[in-house]
């Protein structure tokens, strides 16, 4: 039998350990506007992951040295709660969360019309409350909804999705076991209407063909999640304005 190390990740009937098909993603739920203190917010449950995102601003960029004369800066903080994983993690910023925050900010800067708000700052706070592989993608999906909920103009939403490889098979949306024992992981931030990519990371081993399959799966999943994002925003808008869904 195939399998990577001692762990068998694909069953003989071709299904994965949690019963999904190779191109099937975990269940996703999205709610917009769940944090009253924030200007915009979102809650995303993706499989067993839970991410909450709040957006504050645009506001004065402080300290002044971070100001840009021609655009807003986007200040992202991705953070995992101490109770979000099976072993408690020490609170505070580490190298991993710093890197994820940086690339997430850069992805969001490519969709937000930052040139509309010179010298200002938009704060995006992503808190991971439960982590089960793929949190950076879930955070990105939540951030896009929270920005839209805050009324910040954007070219498009962003959807965070990942594909990867287990037992030499390309699969969509790795869960924790697949992430730990799999061979590759390709998280992406996709602009669902244009198909452009604003966020890209990868580790592991993928052939060009395998990459192309990943890409195809990611695009397909991005379209599905996009529908949920729009639906969450529409529900939020109707709720705010007293309309009916």
């Amino acid at each position: 039998m195939g399998g990577y190390g001692d762990v068998q990740l694909l069953r003989e009937n071709g299904l994965r350990l949690d019963g999904r098909k190779v191109d099937e993603m975990r269940e996703v739920e999205i709610e917009a506007g769940i944090l009253p203190a924030a200007d915009g917010s979102a809650w995303v449950k993706h499989g067993l992951n839970i991410a909450v995102c709040a957006v504050y601003g645009p506001m004065e960029a402080h300290p002044r040295k971070i100001q840009r004369q021609d655009r807003a800066v986007i200040d992202v903080r991705y953070n995992m709660a101490p109770f979000s994983t099976s072993d408690r993690i020490r609170p505070g910023f580490n190298r991993r969360s710093r890197e994820i925050s940086k690339v997430t900010a850069e992805a969001l800067e490519s969709v937000v019309l930052v040139e509309r708000f010179p010298r200002s700052k938009i704060r995006v706070e992503i808190e991971i409350l439960a982590a089960e592989a793929g949190t950076r993608c879930v955070g990105l999906t939540a951030a896009a909804v929270a920005l839209a909920d805050a009324g910040i103009p954007m070219r498009d939403l962003i959807v965070g999705v990942a594909s990867g490889k287990i037992e030499d098979t390309v699969v969509l949306d790795l869960d924790k076991a697949e992430d730990n024992f799999g061979q590759a992981d390709l998280p992406m931030g996709i602009l669902p209407t244009t198909g452009e990519i604003a966020f890209l990371q990868m580790d592991g081993d993928l052939s060009v063909d395998e990459y192309n399959t990943c890409m195809e799966y990611n695009l397909k999943a991005a379209k599905e999640i996009h529908v949920l994002q729009i639906d969450a925003l529409r529900r939020r808008y109707l709720e705010k304005n007293g309309g009916e869904a």
Binding site: I34, L35, P36, A37, A38, S41, L48, I50, V52, C53, A54, Y56, M59, H62, R77, N79, A81, P82, F83, S84, T85, S86, D87, R88, P91, F93, R123, E125, E127, L129, A130, A131, E132
Partner: protein
Amino acid sequence: MVELVPSLLRQELEALAANDQRIDGRGRWDSRDIVLETDCLYNAEGSAKVTWGDTVIYAGVKFEVRTPWPDRPAEGSLMCGAELRPIAGRKYEPGPPSPESIELGRVVDRGIRESGCIDMASLCIIPGEKVLGVMIDIHVLSDKGNIFDACALGAIAALRTATVPAERFDIGEDYPLALSMTPTMCSFTRVGGRYVLDANDEEELGGDERIHITLGDEGHLHSLQKGLKGTFTPAEFDEILGVAQQRCVELADLVHSKEA
């Protein structure tokens, strides 16, 4: 970010207080509505979400195996920390833990610890070598006033629904953490010159000092704290203690209603 206190807000709060009214229409000893959810976070051994008016907090309990403190070789340990992360509101900024978040965590910690609700000796695995540490982490996600009471409620609810993951530590089968009591906190803020229960964010902004009272099941005091600038008289304290004694029973009942 420093928040400005508009003198108009203070004047308005004073005028309302003179007519025994509050800015959101509540009575002086009325609390906002509370929604308590437990077992809401997959990876935490005990968890709670508290939606207290517009204030939202999460509490999560984790356990770890550690070496005991040298002076208490046969006792486990408890740690309770609160994170006032920048997600909680406009005025919160990143950086090392602020004095406010340290005070919050420590006041909640004292209420639970000093009530003696956790039998520390029961957390001992091998005296002098291995004990269980109970870690409660509280995340404030939306601060719209009175985060202290919300955090204390979330912490005790998460503890009372927590499971000790003994199998993971190879020390037997998983079992529920035993608590002998349900300490709960009641906070009062001076707004417009008199104390009110459960101040919202505007009342905190335009108000003065606050008092936090944690009571156990028997109605005994387990932790007290006065925060911010201001003084109070013994008569004022007697009055709010009476309110707290009623209110804490209701809060404990709310926690018990979530237990299996």
